[in-house]
């Protein structure tokens, strides 16, 4: 039997990314280096989710399979606020990637898009802290 342990599990790491993005947005200084790094961190997480969706769709186990974990957390965050919208998670994730890319490159982003971007990352953060601590993972 293998027992796996992590001090900082992936969900907590995603919460750190989400909170960093939210702190950058709250600072009202998106041109600063820290804000750009934070948004870039968020963009990488969103891209991991999209890659995770593709791995999930192919039912592939590979060295990159951990990205499917990011997709699983992302889907939960999307479900909280977008359940009634009817769009596929992947479509919503691509919209969020567009917002992150625009923010990173100082392009104009509609207020409503920024609001939804914030809601997504708030949900990511809150889910990680609301969920119970992951027990040991066991594989025989």
């Amino acid at each position: 039997m293998i027992r796996s342990r992590e001090v900082i599990p992936p969900s907590l790491e995603y919460a750190l990314v989400a909170n960093r993005v939210l702190a950058a947005l709250a600072s009202n200084d998106l041109a600063s280096r820290e804000a750009k790094d934070a948004v870039d961190d968020g963009l990488q997480l969103l891209n991991s989710m999209i890659a995770g969706q593709q791995l999930t769709a192919l039912r592939t186990v590979s060295a990159d399979s951990y990205q499917a974990l990011a997709y699983g957390e992302g889907v939960r965050a999307l479900e909280i606020h977008y359940r009634g919208r009817g769009s596929e998670p992947i479509v919503l994730l691509r919209e969020l990637v567009d917002v992150a890319s625009s923010l990173k490159e100082n392009r104009h982003v509609e207020e409503e898009a920024i609001r939804e971007f914030k809601i997504f990352f708030q949900s990511m953060r809150d889910i990680a802290l609301a969920s119970s601590e992951g027990p040991l993972e066991k594989v025989s």
Binding site: M1, I2, R3, S4, R5, E6, V7, I8, L12, E13, A15, L16, V17, N19, R20, L22, A23, A26, S27, D29, R33, E34, D37, D41, T56, L58, R59, T60, V61, S62, A63, G72, V75, R76, R125, I127, L129, A130, S131, S132, E133, G134, P135, L136, E137, K138, V139, S140
Partner: protein, 249 residues
């Protein structure tokens, strides 16, 4: 989250840091001098990294969010809760390993196991953990402290990253593999039953030699995978103690 103010959160983190350091020191004293040395160093470094991360992150937030007290309160509380979650994991999942290791150390079987593992890697520390549960198990953690500290560093501002750099350097000096072999206390005098430890050691060989890589990528069975996804999709977010995360028997 807003019901408890940031000062209270930070005070609780201080208490938790004190408790973990005290427990680690006491457990270290109870262990034979050569047991779990690298593991204890890793725990000490991770604890320091959490303290540094919180201190510098809060300072950064005070500088950038000074004009928005409500957001500042929220951010500080969040970071303190993350610190508490990490420290709680150390307390609940890692310190019991030291406690179990201090009960009995199996000097008779340890040298044979050590010699066997040396054939595959020398960059490891092995601790035998006698369990009251009837279980044989392998726990192998690769680049333990370094990997966890890098997670904190990666999602931090520049000042916090600079503050964590020294701790990260110390973490890089720790042995690559920190491993624990659990075995049932009931079998401690049975040379025949303890042969099962060879199976557990094979997990370490698999990990260090990357034998599993021969098996990936692999496509999962469609029907059972879709059932798993459907069950996962309909499950609410857990807010209390949950069952096993993953158990494959």
């Amino acid at each position: 989250m807003q019901s408890i103010d940031q000062k209270t959160y930070l005070a609780v983190v201080d208490q938790k840091l004190y408790a973990i350091r005290k427990l680690t020191k006491d457990l270290k004293r109870a262990l034979p001098s050569h047991v779990s040395v690298q593991f204890i160093s890793a725990l000490v470094l991770i604890t320091s990294a959490v303290e540094t991360f919180l201190l510098f992150r809060v300072n950064y937030l005070k500088t950038t969010l000074g004009g928005d007290p409500a957001e500042l309160e929220m951010q500080v509380a969040f970071n303190a809760r993350v610190a508490l979650r990490i420290l709680g994991t150390i307390h609940q999942q890692y310190l019991p390993l030291l406690h179990a290791g201090s009960r009995h150390n199996e000097y008779l079987v340890y040298p044979s196991i050590d010699r066997a593992v040396q054939r595959f890697t020398s960059d490891f520390e092995l601790t035998l953990v006698p369990d009251f549960e009837y279980n044989y198990a392998f726990v192998g953690i690769e680049t333990f402290a370094l990997r966890e500290i890098e997670k904190l560093e990666k999602h931090s501002d520049q000042a916090t990253q600079a503050a964590l750099a020294g701790i990260k350097n110390d973490a890089a000096a720790i042995k690559r593999w920190i491993t624990f072999l659990h075995f049932p206390m009931a079998d401690r005098d049975s040379a025949l039953n303890l042969c099962i430890l060879a199976h557990e050691l094979a997990h370490l060989v698999d990990k260090t030699k990357g034998l599993y890589q021969e098996l990936v990528p692999k496509e999962l069975d469609k029907d059972s995978f879709e059932k798993l996804i459907a069950a996962r999709g309909s499950a609410p977010v857990q807010t209390g103690p949950g069952g096993p995360q993953l158990t494959l028997g």
